[in-house]
């Protein structure tokens, strides 16, 4: 029986599946924090599947989009479930990916030789942000319309060509039917690009294998992915399913904005235009700079900081379990991101402006100053 299974798994395509999902050697000491990668994969699959079924009933037209979403909720069999799963699934996807990213930061998973894994991961995050943003426009509620207007108008801050780029993004002179149509088209396309990028992420990871909580090379003490790590991941998936179900069945609108249940009205601007919760930290950084172009550049710098992280990391030690100084700065960064998220949904007035500015400064100090310097400080302290 065993021999039969072994010969079966030596077939061309199945051999690849076997090498990457069954026999794939993983460090023996991986903790539950390493389960968020596979959970993110599940989120992506769920989003694509629910999205395909939602697209069968959705109409990308400004006169019908809002009504078609209501039609999905009221008339389509199980439509409410599909829609709530898709809407909350986006939030769940971001929760999982943010935790996955923080784990990578804490345990130094971005350092050599896994630079490519990190860079592809940041690109996936960028694509996710883009997909989620244009997806939020599709229900054509008040927050969809005004969110799209505010965010796409940011392109107008680019000198010389800014206005042309904004008009090109809109497909006209304002956010209108052409915008909704192209956003729907792109929202359908981008998840498949994310899926492709995720495959590249996995291939890059499997070249050198997973990092581990100790941060040291674990070439000898490795165990096969199946059954050990699969079982461990399964625990995470079950906990995630319970958490996700809690939102779908008990608080489906908790993470959304009530204004999005009002049809889009270009003649009536909402009192506060707030993006979805997962954009709030970046939105707070954007608003903390009292200059449109400066804000746009700051958003760019957030992703540049993440992209260059593997190359500015100077520490000889990978895991923060053995970097007490970095651990403190890391938890401050977590607090900083939470505060930025909170500031992002507050009105632009005192004291929120000042708090947002201080939090934004710390965010960049952590990545662009602390990360390169900390390794040298650690080296100095170790030599003393």
């Amino acid at each position: 029986m065993i021999m039969k299974r072994l010969s079966f798994l030596k077939q061309p395509l199945l051999a690849a599946v076997n090498d990457h999902l069954i026999d794939y050697p993983t460090p023996a000491n991986l903790s539950y924090w390493w389960g968020f990668g596979s959970t993110a994969g599940i989120c992506l699959i769920l989003q694509i599947l629910t999205g395909i079924f939602l697209a069968m009933h959705y109409t990308p037209h400004i006169d019908l989009a809002f009504l078609s979403v209501e039609h999905i909720m009221r008339d389509v069999e199980g439509g409410w479930f599909l829609r709530y799963m898709h809407a909350n699934g986006a939030s769940m996807f971001f929760i999982v990916v943010y935790l996955h990213l923080l784990r990578g930061l804490y345990y130094g998973s971005y350092t050599s030789p896994r630079e490519l894994v990190w860079i592809v991961g940041v690109i996936i995050l960028l694509l996710m942000i883009l997909t989620a943003f244009i997806g939020y426009v599709l229900p054509w509620g008040q927050m969809s319309f005004w969110g799209a207007t505010v965010i796409t108008s940011l392109a107008s801050a680019i000198p010389v060509v800014g206005t042309d780029i904004t008009h090109w993004l809109w497909g006209g002179f304002s956010v209108d039917n052409a915008t909704l149509n192209r956003f729907f088209s792109l929202h359908y396309l981008l998840p498949f690009i994310i899926a492709g990028a995720s495959l590249v992420h996995i291939v890059a990871l499997h070249q050198y294998g997973s990092n581990n909580p100790l941060g040291c090379s674990a070439t000898v003490d490795k165990i096969p992915f199946y059954p050990y790590l699969l079982l461990k991941d399964l625990v995470g998936w079950v906990v995630f399913a319970i958490f996700f179900s809690g939102f779908i069945f008990f608080a489906p609108n908790l993470l959304g904005h009530p204004d999005n249940y009002i049809p889009a009205n270009p003649m009536s601007t909402p009192a506060h235009i707030v993006p979805e919760w997962y954009f709030l930290p970046v939105y707070a950084i954007l608003r903390s700079i009292p200059n449109k172009l400066g804000g746009v550049l700051a958003i760019g710098l957030v992703f540049v900081s993440l992209l260059i992280l593997p190359f500015i990391h100077t520490s000889q030690i990978r895991s923060s379990s053995f970097r007490p100084l970095h651990r403190k700065l890391f938890f401050l960064l977590v607090a900083d991101c939470l505060l930025l998220g909170w500031i992002g949904c507050q009105p632009v007035e005192d004291p929120y402006v000042l708090i947002g500015q201080i939090a934004s400064i710390y965010f960049f100090l952590y990545f662009l100053v602390a990360m390169p310097l900390l390794g040298k400080v650690e080296q100095f302290l170790l030599q003393k």
């Binding site: 050990y228 607090a335 900083d336 004291p351």
Partner: protein, 73 residues
């Protein structure tokens, strides 16, 4: 005597968590294991994550309250 690493492919299907007995130790010393995990980063999380977050939110709410009172009287 040095340990000879086993070939993964040859052992994958003959190993089972039950057969190798790895599950026996799962709940061994459970309480101290959990205590260690919880307290490992407790001081850093408390001082550098929870404290600044709570302190900032309290400062802001106090500021708004004072501002309200200032306008009232």
């Amino acid at each position: 005597m040095a340990k000879i690493p086993a070939r993964l492919r040859s052992v994958t299907y003959t190993l089972s968590p039950m057969r190798t007995g790895v599950m026996h130790g799962l709940f061994k010393d459970w309480a101290s294991g959990m205590a260690k995990r919880v307290t490992e980063n407790a001081v850093d999380v408390g001082l550098f994550c929870a404290l600044p977050t709570i302190a900032t939110v309290m400062y802001a709410s106090n500021y708004k309250e004072q501002e309200k009172l200032h306008h009232r009287y």
